[in-house]
């Protein structure tokens, strides 16, 4: 077997931290190679070394590409050799058309004058290759995330790529879009394109990967060959976290009480398109000590439902009734909703959940400044005590609460968001995709926190696209489809297939 890529003994140090320690990665020509590891294990750093973001000389070790020693000074160098990275955050210009994006920085031009007809034709071919049925003229911003992902891949293909690196490509995708993407990877493999797939979704990896390299704490732990025999998810997880994880979901003693929270006849209209109803006649309830799930496709209205309840942060012409312990509560403004005992952890931590340039401390107390102040004056000491308490309780891995949250990993950032809401002491918490983009170890910790919340007698509403997680955590699961709750299933009667059947048939 010929090796397309060999990274030998890569060591990369940042001031005070050894991010990569003697890491090796060997990728065979034509394979799909999965790279897994917890957040902060060093996957991204390794890929940055490979693509030249960290130029040759800033790390120790050696990179061999197609048998030649490669020394990339920047991304342009690695792209020239045929290495393309598709990042989690897509690098597309939303207002430009698909064709313009495909050839951005790689335009077909003669003496600086664009050859648009030629580019159009090429764009069509590329789109066909990735199975995207869209005109090259539509602005990229109007496409969904799944389609944008395909545009990114087409863009890489336009550059004659040999090694395609995908960083968490399906993190923001729905099940069927993910499947399409994985299928495309297989297809590209057939055309001789090698890929490295970074993902947290082990079932997807098992589905497409030929070999798996596991990285833990900046060192390569193992390389597993899936072609010879099936590698179990448990095996991968064990290598990732370095401990046996018999249960992916922590045990919980269910102690479910009376109805705590109830939403009746909830209707919401689209903020811009006034004639479009986004949520129609939704009724649901949460009992104290209960974890309730909301399943549904992206765009089915799950986030919109939660946000419209939480201080009418979404939508217009909102009508309906919200009660807590049988008493109607005012949720028309965010501060009133918080006052009444609600909390909402957004699915988009960075954009909507955190003030990235501020410290952990300041983010923790933001929703309940009254708790650390007297007469509007903040007590630094009280605030420090509170932040420190939550840092320890949540096991946020950082030496100090003065650390800016922008420097934390996804899992730790999510814990800061949870700290903020726990400190506001809510009765009912809405958690929107609480484990998105978070590694297995941190997921387990977040689940444990959720269980603790339920054990305290609070109500938890969990919105998630990952069905195993809903099945593993929830007592009841509501299924949402096109703005309506179509059914509710008890945990013991629910299965992925049953949930899916309600989503598809309606």
């Amino acid at each position: 077997m010929t090796m397309l890529l060999e990274m030998r003994a890569i060591t990369k140090t940042f001031p005070g931290v050894k991010a990569l320690d003697n890491v090796g990665l060997r990728v065979e020509t034509g394979e799909i190679h999965a790279l897994v590891g917890e957040n902060g294990a060093g996957k991204s750093t390794l890929m940055k070394v490979l693509s030249g973001v960290y130029p040759a000389g800033s790390y120790d070790g050696e990179i061999l590409f197609e048998g030649q020693v490669a020394q990339f000074r920047n991304i342009a160098d690695s792209e020239k050799m045929g290495i393309a990275i598709i990042h989690q955050e897509l690098a597309l210009v939303p207002l430009l058309s698909v064709a313009e994006n495909l050839f951005l920085g790689n335009e077909v031009a003669e003496r600086g004058v664009m050859n648009w007809p030629r580019m159009h034709q090429m764009a069509r071919e590329l789109l066909q290759k990735v199975g995207l049925d869209e005109s090259p003229d539509v602005p990229v911003g109007t496409l969904g995330v799944g389609k944008q992902q395909l545009v990114e891949i087409a863009k890489a293909l336009a550059k004659d790529v040999k090694l395609l690196i995908l960083d968490e490509p399906t993190a923001a995708l729905q099940e069927n879009d993910s499947q399409k993407l994985l299928g495309l990877l297989k297809e590209l493999q057939g055309q001789g394109i090698t890929s490295i797939l970074i993902s947290h979704k082990l079932n997807e990896i098992n589905q497409v990967a030929d070999r798996i390299t596991v990285i833990r704490d900046g060192a390569s732990v193992s390389t597993l060959d899936c072609r010879a025999e099936e590698i179990s998810e448990e095996h991968i997880i064990r290598d990732m976290v370095g401990r046996d994880m018999a249960h992916r979901y922590p045990d919980r003693e269910r102690n479910i009480g009376e109805t705590l929270f109830e939403v009746k006849n909830w209707n919401v209209w689209h903020p811009e398109h006034r004639d479009r109803q986004v949520i129609s006649d939704v009724n649901f309830n949460v009992r104290s000590g209960e974890i309730v799930g909301i399943a549904g496709l992206m765009g089915s209205g799950r986030t919109e439902l939660a946000m419209s309840i939480f201080g009418q942060s979404y939508g217009r012409n909102i009508s309906g009734q919200v009660t807590l312990r049988g008493v109607e509560i005012d949720v028309s403004k965010v501060d009133r909703a918080i006052e009444a005992g609600l909390a909402y952890c957004t699915e988009d931590r960075k954009e909507l959940g955190l003030i990235l340039e501020e410290s952990i401390l300041r983010n923790t107390t933001l929703a309940n400044l009254a708790g650390v102040s007297k007469g509007g004056v903040i007590s630094d000491g009280e605030e420090q005590k509170v932040a420190e308490k939550y840092r320890q309780a949540m096991n946020i891995r950082t030496p100090s609460v003065q650390q800016k949250v922008v420097n934390l990993s996804g899992g730790n950032q999510q814990k800061v968001v949870l700290s903020k809401w726990l400190y506001a002491d809510p009765q009912v918490l809405f958690l929107d995709e609480p484990t998105r983009g978070i590694d297995v170890g941190a997921k387990f910790e977040i689940y444990s926190i959720m269980n603790q919340l339920a054990a305290d007698g609070r109500g938890v509403v969990m919105i998630s696209s990952e069905m195993p997680e809903l099945l593993g955590m929830c007592d009841r699961i509501y299924v949402m489809n096109e703005g309506a709750l179509v059914t509710v299933l008890d945990a013991d009667e629910a299965s992925q297939e049953r949930i899916m059947s309600f989503i598809v048939t309606e």
């Binding site: 005070g16 939480f310 201080g311 942060s313 965010v334 501060d335 909703a337 918080i338 006052e339 909402y344 957004t346 954009e351 909507l352 959940g353 955190l354 003030i355 990235l356 340039e357 501020e358 300041r362 933001l366 929703a367 400044l369 009254a370 102040s373 509007g376 004056v377 903040i378 630094d380 000491g381 420090q384 005590k385 420190e388 100090s400 003065q402 903020k420 506001a424």
Partner: protein
């Protein structure tokens, strides 16, 4: 935890901006002190420095709040001119007493701020556009009010807003006695004692804060830095007050400026409303979803700016002893520059009151020093522009290095 070397280095790296700013001010002052053969730090010139820059500093306080909230106000120069004109018309032409005219002027300033803040906060119109419009409108309105003429002079008690001095509260004989020993013409004992008291308070508050931090386990400034910083600040304060004491004492504006600075530093750093202001600038959506009334805070920031611009307009008119159609022209640029030199971020959420004040002093000392050296207004502008650029580049460079 051990206080090893890397700790200090890391601390220095993350607080580079604050120490750098203080050192820059000292360096600039030392430079001009030498280049002007000691004129810069003469009693009369220090007094002038405060009189010349007080209105910039007062507006910089409001501008800092606006910029921290993620906005900008280009209209402050025009608003300041307009309010000065309004005061002149009311006091000089209509003979209204000061205690009526001054509050009216401040309220008008607040209403102007509200009128602009309304569009920014509740209609999401970019503040750059709204206040650019305001800049033109209020420049025009002051021309209209004054009919293109200067209006003055003001009565004595109005002038005292700016050019008045705090009288010595010690018996005259004490001052005469000291003056004789020092070989100066007069000595305001009250001025020096106020300086000493203020220095003592600063050191005492610093020590108390350190003790409390320690009790709560907050890692603070390394002790060497704490001592050095306090020695510099306290001795500078006493030195300045001593110099002022040998001239006419403490100017009224110095007192009002200092009191306002302390109040704004307290509000921005210690109160919930200040904290929320930073949150709005840092991430408005996240702040909103945390129950913070972001629109109302933006609205407030502009009202506050309007009131401070009005106060600055009064002080400026009092110093010139007349309102002129050109008053406040292009001053918004000095104010904004001071805030950015002081370390605020264009994208909001970052910046400190003390930084803005020191930034304003840096601009003020450069203006004053270059004028004393007889450098033409052409070169002055070029140099000021380059200093602003250098300060911001330094910021960005620092941030990149840390990240």
């Amino acid at each position: 935890m051990s206080q090893s070397k890397p700790d200090i280095r890391a601390y220095l790296a993350s607080h580079m901006r604050e120490y750098g700013l203080l050192l820059a001010l000292i360096a600039i002052m030392a430079f001009f002190q030498i280049m002007t053969d000691g004129v810069l730090l003469k009693s009369v010139n220090i007094t002038n420095l405060f009189l010349q820059n007080s209105y910039i500093i007062i507006m910089a306080l409001g501008m800092l709040v606006v910029i921290v909230a993620g906005h900008i106000d280009l209209s402050v120069g025009s608003v300041m001119g307009f309010v000065g004109a309004l005061a002149a018309v009311m006091i000089v032409q209509w003979d209204l007493p000061m205690w009526v005219a001054v509050p009216i002027c401040l309220v008008v300033g607040g209403m102007i701020g509200a009128a602009q803040g309304y569009w920014v906060a509740f209609w999401n119109i970019p503040p750059f556009i709204v206040t650019l419009a305001g800049m033109l409108v209020f420049r025009g309105m002051s021309l209209w009010l004054l009919e293109g003429q200067s209006v003055g002079p003001f009565p004595r008690e109005f002038q005292a807003l700016s050019t008045g001095f705090i009288p010595d509260f010690f018996p005259l004989s004490v001052g005469e006695n000291i003056a004789e020993r020092l070989g100066v013409r007069r000595f305001n004992t009250g001025a020096l004692s106020l300086g000493v008291i203020a220095a003592a308070i600063i050191v005492w508050l610093g020590l108390r804060g350190r003790a409390r931090d320690k009790a709560y386990g907050i890692e603070g400034e390394p002790i060497a830095f704490f001592i050095a910083r306090n020695v510099i600040v306290a001795s500078a304060l006493i030195f300045v007050c001593y110099k002022l004491a040998t001239f006419r004492g403490l100017p009224n504006v110095l007192i009002s400026m200092t009191v306002l600075t302390v109040i704004y530093a307290f509000i921005t750093e210690k109160t919930t409303i200040g904290r929320r202001m930073y949150a709005v600038g840092g991430n408005e959506k996240a702040a909103n979803l945390s129950g913070i009334k972001t629109k109302r805070l933006t609205f407030l920031a502009f009202i506050n700016m309007g009131v401070l611009a009005a106060l600055a307009g009064l002080i400026f008119a009092a110093r010139l002893n007349s309102a002129t159609p050109k008053a406040g022209f292009a001053v918004e640029l000095d104010v904004i520059a001071a805030v950015f030199i002081g370390g605020a971020s264009m994208s909001g959420g970052v910046g400190k009151v003390m930084g803005a004040v020191v930034g304003a002093f840096i601009m003020g000392v450069m203006n004053n020093g270059m004028s004393l050296m007889g450098i033409g207004i052409d070169y002055q502008q070029i140099i000021k522009g380059l200093v602003l650029l250098a300060a911001v580049i330094f910021d960005v460079y620092n941030k990149n290095k840390q990240g």
